[in-house]
């Protein structure tokens, strides 16, 4: 069998029912986690759906490699790669504002000015995370936003526990410094 023949077969192959069922289970369990991960890893709100889809496309082709209990680690690792690609592409494209945020994360009982505050807070959060070193940001996001334990983070990222603790400590110091700088720039006393 030639490489070309194999390549052609791969390109046209469709998933088996069993593979589709596995992908569906994975999607049902991890969709929100993947979506949040690509967002917090720097993917623009308007591109988060596509980036999430790309993560699951990769997963669909790697299903046989994903060990039971390592699903989240695999998806997060893929999300890191997809987000890194996206950030590189963004450098060449204009940033798209989060015009779709209202439909995603708002309560109908929240007034417009309150919602605007939420969106602004989210923009500031995105900006501060964007400025962080990628390694620090990853640990910070998993601990502070995904509420994973340090042991879980160490397992997921294949890092020694001490490295996770050290990165988290540095990430928090970095975060506090950036927030303080942001406050100073915004000219307010203690908050946004």
């Amino acid at each position: 069998m030639s490489v070309e023949a194999v390549n052609a077969g791969t390109a046209s192959a469709s998933a088996t029912p069993r593979a589709k069922a596995s992908l569906r289970d994975l999607f049902d369990a991890q969709f929100e986690f993947v979506w949040r991960s690509v967002r917090r890893l720097g993917v623009d709100p308007a591109a988060a759906d596509d980036a999430t889809q790309e993560v699951f496309i990769v997963a669909s082709r790697r299903l046989h490699d994903i060990e039971h209990g390592k699903e989240r680690a695999f998806l997060f690792g893929t999300a890191v790669k997809v987000a890194a690609d996206w950030r590189r592409g963004r450098a060449r494209k204009p940033i798209i504002a989060d015009t779709d945020a209202v439909e995603r994360g708002s309560d109908s009982s929240i007034a417009a000015d309150e919602l605007t505050d939420q969106l602004r807070a989210r923009e500031v959060l995105d900006k501060l995370l964007d400025e962080m070193d990628n390694d620090l940001r990853t640990v910070f996001v998993l601990f502070e936003l995904e509420e994973m334990t340090m042991a879980e983070i160490a397992s997921m990222l294949e890092l020694p526990a001490g490295t996770v603790a050290s990165r988290l400590r540095r990430a928090r110091a970095d975060w506090m410094e950036r927030v303080a700088r942001y406050r100073a720039r915004a000219g307010t006393g203690s908050t946004l």
């Binding site: 069998m1 049902d28 695999f74 015009t99 309150e114 294949e158």
Partner: protein, 245 residues
């Protein structure tokens, strides 16, 4: 390992406001249905977490709550969306790339001019009153959809897909031509210096070495892999491949 308290609980008002804002940044039920449709898998509207590897975190409960709220409040408009998505899934079982979305119906759109004041992206102005305290006390449950137009998006470069395809070629060569599979992996290493799927490539190489009868090298490579990536997703597979059981 001593776990520090989280800034969302122990930080100041700004920390809580900023980090709390992330909680409300969740995907819509329509996004979920649309992506499921594009992937060619049926959509489970319940969205309950069932991942064995998922940590028992607040984030997962927030996420499942988000899906429920979104589903509830999108209402009848979403039923049409889901129904159409299902029909798309039935007719299109092949995973399609992000650049080729199926024609999924959307709820009625509000003209951008109606949504703009709410979805303002202007940065906070200097001297504006604090929003931290107000944000802290608000509900962050997702709810009513006000759909606005989203520009066409091009996300990632094609290289991820290219890399995957290269590894798939090697994997498909494995059963009949393990030496060709290894040649393909060499080509992968040469053509994609960044090797973002290096772990997967190593697993295929170990399988190719075993298939070609070179078990000592397979075991050496597998052992080296496990020393470096003993906790990685493919580690169990590698252990199984090089075990003598």
């Amino acid at each position: 390992m001593i776990e520090p308290s989280r800034l969302r609980d122990s930080g100041d008002a700004t920390d809580r406001a900023l980090l709390g804002a992330a909680v409300s940044d969740a995907p819509s039920a329509a996004s979920r249905a649309e992506i499921a449709g594009r992937l060619g898998i049926s959509f489970d509207g319940g969205g309950g977490p069932s991942d064995p590897s998922a940590p028992s975190s607040g984030a997962s409960s927030v996420a499942s709550g988000s899906a429920s709220w979104g589903t509830l409040l999108i209402g009848l408009g979403a039923i049409g969306t889901v129904a159409l998505t299902v029909s798309v899934m039935q007719s299109n079982d092949v995973v399609v790339p992000p650049s080729e979305p199926p024609p999924v119906a959307q709820p009625p759109l509000l003209p951008p001019t109606q949504a703009q004041p709410i979805a303002s992206s202007d940065p906070p102005l200097i001297g504006e009153p604090s929003i931290s305290e107000r944000l802290e006390t608000r509900s962050t449950q997702p709810a009513h959809r006000i759909r606005t137009a989203v520009p066409a998006i091009v996300t990632t470069e094609a290289t991820l897909a290219d890399e995957l395809a290269a590894i798939d070629i090697a994997r498909n060569l494995l059963p009949h031509e393990p030496s060709a599979a290894m040649a393909q992996l060499d080509a992968y290493r040469q053509n994609f210096p960044r090797q973002r799927f290096a772990q997967e490539a190593t697993v295929v190489r170990i399988e190719a070495l075993i298939a070609s009868g070179d078990r000592p090298r397979a075991e050496a490579l597998g052992t080296a892999f496990l020393e470096q990536h003993g906790n990685s997703p493919p580690a169990t597979r590698v252990r199984r491949l090089i075990s003598h059981d």
